[in-house]
């Protein structure tokens, strides 16, 4: 039965990918990308990767679609069809590479094999020892935040760096006229029903984000997912009541500070264990018993990740929307013809 659903979902994925490749309308292909990520998240649930599905659901279907749309808003909706010889050439290159890769799969272990090389190292240790060494049931969280905490630290820094990069590219605003910002009408403000329903929805979403943040030890969830969900709630608010209103609460300076603060929390937890005579990010010194220390460490580290992810997502969204708003106001003056 699982296999049947697997075949089904992967087939749907391929169909969507082909459709994305063949539509000329970028709006449609971005929408189909959202659909693609919905299907792949369902597939991840089927493959037991619940944490991954969680992340993909929050990131792929929501935020990435919104970002792509704002970018398209700034650049135009239609694309010309590629030239014929280019398509032909592409097809040749792709088929040759594909055949070579297919040849490579002949040697891969069978799907679902429990004695393939990937299953023999590390994973058994994590699965059998995690409960006594770390003491939390969700092995994904214990590997993410403790066993491979250094790795995750790197990822968090990468996210912060990407946020800084987006700010460096698009963040500067030449002349900020605050009264002008207020006069800009929120695009969906006239939709009464939307307004009421989202007012009803936003507090539960924020609460749910907190639940995901702190329940990550026991079920699917954790800092990455919680950060994205938290940001999604604010983005919903910003879309319906206007970006400038949301920005009055989440001021630019504050979220930039928060983005850095998350990484700082993560790093200082590591430094603390470093200074207490253990390895970097070895949390067992944080409390009187090692296991208890691990709990503290994981909680703090996940909090740092959550803060950084939420802040960076907000920075990116606000930066893009500010661009779109500016463009609406000033027209496309930079266009070079």
């Amino acid at each position: 039965m699982e296999m049947l659903v697997d075949v089904f979902l992967l087939g749907l994925l391929v169909a969507t990918a082909v459709a994305i490749s063949s539509t000329k309308d970028l709006f449609a292909s971005i929408m189909l990308t959202g659909l693609y990520s919905l299907i792949s998240a369902a597939f991840f649930v089927l493959m037991d990767a619940v944490d991954v599905a969680f992340t993909e659901a929050a990131v792929g279907a929501g935020i990435s679609t919104l970002l792509m749309l704002s970018c398209m808003k700034l650049t135009g909706q239609y694309e010309p069809k590629p030239h014929r010889h280019r398509r032909l050439l592409g097809l040749v290159v792709v088929s040759v590479t594909g055949v070579l890769l297919l040849f490579g799969t002949l040697d891969t272990p069978n799907f679902g094999d429990d004695h393939s090389p990937i299953q023999d190292h590390l994973a058994p240790h994590y699965l059998t020892k995690s409960m006594e060494e770390i003491g939390i049931p969700n092995v994904v969280t214990s590997v993410l935040a403790s066993y491979r905490g250094f790795d995750t630290f790197g990822e968090t820094v990468v996210i912060l760096t990407a946020g800084i990069g987006v700010l460096a590219l698009l963040g500067f605003s030449p002349k900020r006229q605050s009264d002008d910002l207020d006069s800009l009408v929120a695009p969906m403000h006239h939709q009464k029903i939307l307004r009421v329903v989202s007012k009803l929805l936003i507090p539960p979403i924020l609460l749910f984000a907190l639940y995901v943040q702190f329940h990550g030890d026991f079920g699917p969830g954790g800092g990455f997912q919680a950060g994205v969900i938290f940001a999604a709630a604010i983005i919903l608010y910003a879309m319906i009541f206007g970006v400038h209103v949301a920005r009055q609460v989440f001021r630019d300076g504050a979220i930039r500070l928060l983005a850095a603060l998350g990484v700082l929390i993560y790093g200082s937890v590591g430094l603390l264990s470093f200074l207490s005579g253990k390895n970097f990010l070895d949390y067992s010194v944080l409390s009187d018993t090692p296991q208890h220390g691990q709990h503290w460490g994981i909680m703090l580290v996940e909090m740092g990740v959550g803060i950084t992810v939420a802040a960076v997502m907000l920075i990116i969204f606000f930066t893009f929307s500010a661009r779109v708003d500016k463009r609406e106001r000033d027209g496309d003056e930079n266009q070079r013809q």
């Binding site: 994305i20 490749s21 650049t75 010309p80 792709v94 799907f111 994904v140």
Partner: protein
């Protein structure tokens, strides 16, 4: 049933090649980024498929004897997804800046203008 033992990997390669095709044939930069994200997802699927053990369950321990799927790929891919969106955002920001500088996001047009500028 034996035909299905590598089915996931074949699909991974198919998806990867579709993404690759979009990246190399389409001139529109946003479309290229969409192609990249398809490519990216195919890698995610590859990792996750490899970690699956048939008859296994999600690696969240609960009382009793159970087979759990491999948690390590899950960790790698989980962070990769969030990093992926952050880097995609960076790519999109670059696209927006290119549009402002050249008035187009079609690769050929940008290259043409670049050549004209150098002359």
């Amino acid at each position: 049933m034996s035909a299905l033992l590598h089915y996931n990997y074949w699909i991974v390669i198919l998806l990867m090649m579709i993404g690759f095709y979009i990246v190399i044939t389409h001139a529109n930069l946003i479309k290229k980024l969409l192609g990249l994200s398809i490519f990216q997802t195919s890698v995610f699927i590859l990792y996750i498929s490899m970690g699956k053990i048939s008859g296994g369950t999600a690696p969240i321990l609960y009382p009793g004897e159970h087979v759990y799927s491999n948690p390590l790929p899950h960790v790698l891919i989980l962070t990769a997804i969030v990093v992926g969106i952050a880097t995609t955002a960076l790519g999109l920001a670059l696209v927006v800046r290119l549009r402002e500088a050249y008035g187009s996001i079609v690769e050929d047009v940008i290259q043409q203008q670049e050549q004209e500028d150098q002359r």
